[in-house]
């Protein structure tokens, strides 16, 4: 571990940014009180209002395609043959062996001269792909690279996670800074071997360490990455218009923001957990897409992911003038949040195939 955060900050040789972005959230919602009704007789409290649930014909491949197409629409006129990487981070890839990424790459026309691979790092697989995309484009190996974080999160019936495990995510087309709607000022990672949440091969539902998932896991890594990046950049919370954190529930990101010195106003637009739940690998980056939907040129945004196991990636972005014309080119994140059809617990069990006979 380096003590010198200037050395630890990630910054490519040439400036890169986000050329296009897009979100996707399934339309179905399971109110947390439904889970509470089934499992705790309606007592015990709920960590969020409701979570998103994928439809019967939706999975991480179809949802990633939706988000990628929105990103391509925002980028506007980018030749897909120049996209040299399509990377999808998720905990719920439809196949154990066979990439989701090739399916997505095919549908946006990036094949055949492209990298395609699936990433796994619990809830930060999406930002891990984003870090790699920044490096790929920043080194000049690629003009464009697409990074996606998307999940149809699994939770054991009756577990605390079942209230929040949601579905959704976002796609980012990374490209040269002069084409970008938002430029990366730097990024910073904080990773240790901390087993707070895991799912072993052939297991259907994840396990977790209860209270161990909080302070020594989520907070240590999220705050470590955020503080490291701000120290390296010489920025402070007041320098940012918005901040987005990984949001496994409504409480953790608000507590992290408070500990760092961010206000409710700064984190409000990117805080979606109460309405769609924890979309795992999509959680922090769909918060970013919601922020970009409302951002103005010159705004600065801090993005901090968290993945169990454990690690955090922090990114500092500055929004450019190009944002204004691109915001409206695709459905906004809040459009998806508002597109809502409530289901009961039984329907949810059917949709996510919890009944196995």
């Amino acid at each position: 571990m380096t003590d010198n955060n200037d050395c630890a900050m990630l910054k490519p040789d040439r400036d890169v940014g986000i050329v296009g972005y897009g979100a996707y959230v399934p339309r179905y919602r399971l109110p947390a009180i439904e889970v509470e009704r089934i499992w705790t007789d309606g007592k015990g409290g709920t960590p969020i209002k409701e979570k998103s649930v994928p439809g019967l014909d939706e999975d991480v491949a179809t949802m990633s395609i939706e988000a990628a197409r929105n990103a391509m629409a925002r980028a506007g006129g980018v030749n897909p043959a120049l996209i040299r990487a399509v990377w999808v981070g998720s905990e719920s890839h439809p196949y154990a062996v066979k990439p989701t990424s090739t399916i997505v790459a095919e549908t946006i026309g990036a094949t055949p001269h492209t990298q395609a691979a699936d990433w796994e790092f619990a809830c930060k697989a999406g930002t891990e792909a984003l870090q790699a995309a920044i490096g790929f484009v920043g080194s000049g190996m690629a003009r464009y690279a697409m990074a996606i974080g998307m999940d149809t999160a699994q939770a054991r019936p009756g577990d605390a996670l079942e209230y929040t495990a949601g579905a959704g995510g976002a796609a980012y087309l990374v490209g040269p800074a002069d084409e970008a709607l938002s430029v990366f000022e730097g990024s910073f990672s904080y990773v240790t071997d901390t087993p707070d949440f895991w799912r072993r091969a052939h297991q259907h539902y994840p396990s977790h360490g209860g209270r161990f998932t909080g302070e020594p896991a989520y907070f240590k890594h999220s705050l470590g990455a955020a503080r490291g990046l701000m120290e390296a950049l010489g920025t402070k919370p007041a320098d940012y218009t918005y901040a987005v954190f990984h949001q496994p529930n409504a409480k953790f990101p608000q507590s992290a923001a408070k500990q760092l010195g961010f206000s409710r106003e700064q984190i409000g637009p990117g805080l979606l957990a109460n309405d769609i739940g924890n979309t795992y690998a999509g959680s922090s980056i769909i918060g970013l897409s919601a922020v970009l939907d409302v951002a103005a040129p010159g705004d600065r945004v801090l993005l901090v992911s968290y993945g169990s196991g454990a690690g955090s990636d922090a990114f500092s972005l500055r929004v450019t003038k190009a944002i204004l014309e691109r915001q409206k080119r695709a459905p906004q994140t809040q459009d998806y949040v508002a597109r809502r059809k409530e289901v009961d617990y039984g329907t949810y069990v059917r949709f996510v195939r919890k009944l196995r006979v």
Partner: protein, 385 residues
């Protein structure tokens, strides 16, 4: 028999020490006690611990802690008596010094509980109950205490809410204890709405799962004055036992182990309950606080709870109880708890308890209970003038 004195105390903050291993927890307390005592070497080390094998994958703590504390070579063993392990270790240290077999003895209590998931910890704690006749039938340790609390309410006509003063008192006292896990107050309203754990035991009737370590250094009393500016004499050290299973007891509402242990302690010290300035009791669950007050002679049968309801357990009350937060609010790292109690009584007798100081405290009692009452260890400490 020689008189034995405590010449140094040390403790670490009770809490969830995610980044600290069992041996490091021990080291923190042992080093603090050695520094407080101002000694460089010791003849023996006794480590009180209940569940290191189950919860931390480590037994053989005597040699481990001795070596890690830089005391390689000295006599060192682990002492186990369920949640009463800490005070049981002190009893062994006392025996060694009183019997003239050792001069300077270190006694530590340590427990590391947070490395496993809740159900594993619950299963491990049930080892304190009767394995064949209680745990085998599915009774967790909290369930055993829930049966006792329900019976107490039934026998004497109390409500669940009547137990609130124990939690309120513990949390109030913990506010001024920097080593406490829960340094915040709670109200009767919060008690009433607390999450149910095992009816009628709610979260606020229960001590927390946590990590901690506390230690003392012992020396013969005649040497103590030259070694320490504020030595405290162990006026009594006694262990009493009872059946492990509640159903085997003479009366489930009476802690015979506490009666035996306390009677011996009073006889050794030549005092009675009316002479005790403060009582650090074993409130693992609030019903145990009521039963302890009765077993130790501070209240008649069924009246322990009445003492709390009448406001007699506060710092200025008739018998101040759990003056630094007790198991409920300081925390209950099981095998370390008995040593925390001793450290806290020493703080009181030295006049170093800050805002929680019991006025003119001269004699203090600590009672550490293993299981639901099968091992009861009582110590009476006295300020050396």
């Amino acid at each position: 028999m020689r008189d034995v004195a405590i010449i140094g105390v040390g403790q670490i903050e009770v809490g969830e020490h995610w980044d600290t291993s069992l041996r490091h927890l021990s080291l923190g307390a042992v080093q603090a006690a050695i520094a407080d005592a101002g000694v460089a070497q010791a003849d023996a080390l006794y480590v009180g611990n209940m569940l290191s094998g189950e919860l931390a994958g480590q037994e053989h703590l005597g040699a481990l802690v001795a070596d890690f504390a830089g005391l390689r070579g000295i006599e060192a063993v682990k002492i186990e008596a369920a949640c009463g392990s800490g005070a049981a270790a002190l009893r062994m240290g006392y025996v060694a010094v009183a019997g003239g077999l050792a001069d300077v003895v270190i006694v530590a209590g340590v427990e590391k509980m947070t490395d496993l998931l809740g159900h594993d910890t619950t299963a491990a704690l049930a080892l304190a109950a009767d394995g064949e006749y209680e745990a085998f039938l599915g009774l967790s340790f909290v369930a055993v205490n829930a049966l006792l609390m329900r019976r107490y309410m039934h026998e004497y006509g109390y409500s669940r809410q009547d137990f609130a003063p124990f939690a309120i008192n513990a949390h109030k006292n913990a506010v001024n204890n920097p080593y406490a896990m829960f340094g915040f107050p709670v109200t009767a309203e919060r008690f009433a709405s607390a999450k149910m754990i095992c009816d009628p035991i709610s979260l606020l009737d229960s001590s927390p799962i946590c990590d901690g370590a506390a230690a003392v250094v012992l020396a013969p009393a005649d040497m103590a004055r030259s070694l320490s500016a504020a030595p405290v004499r162990i006026a009594a050290s006694a262990i009493g036992t009872d059946s492990l299973a509640v159903h085997d007891r003479r009366d489930p509402m009476v802690l015979d182990g506490a009666i035996i242990s306390t009677r011996r302690a009073y006889e050794q010290a030549g005092v009675g309950p009316e002479d005790i300035y403060l009582f650090e009791l074993h409130d693992a669950f609030s019903v145990m606080a009521a039963l302890s007050l009765e077993g130790a002679g501070f209240a008649e049968k069924g009246q322990g709870l009445r003492l709390a309801l009448d406001g007699e357990i506060g710092i200025d009350g008739r018998i101040p109880v759990n003056t630094m937060g007790g198991l409920k609010a300081r925390g209950h790292p099981v095998g370390a708890t008995g040593m925390y109690q001793i450290v806290e009584v020493v703080q009181q007798l030295r006049g170093l308890a800050g805002q929680n100081q019991v006025k003119d405290a001269r004699l203090g009692m600590a009672q550490n209970i293993g299981g639901s009452g099968a091992t009861v260890v009582t110590h009476i400490l006295e300020r050396m003038e």
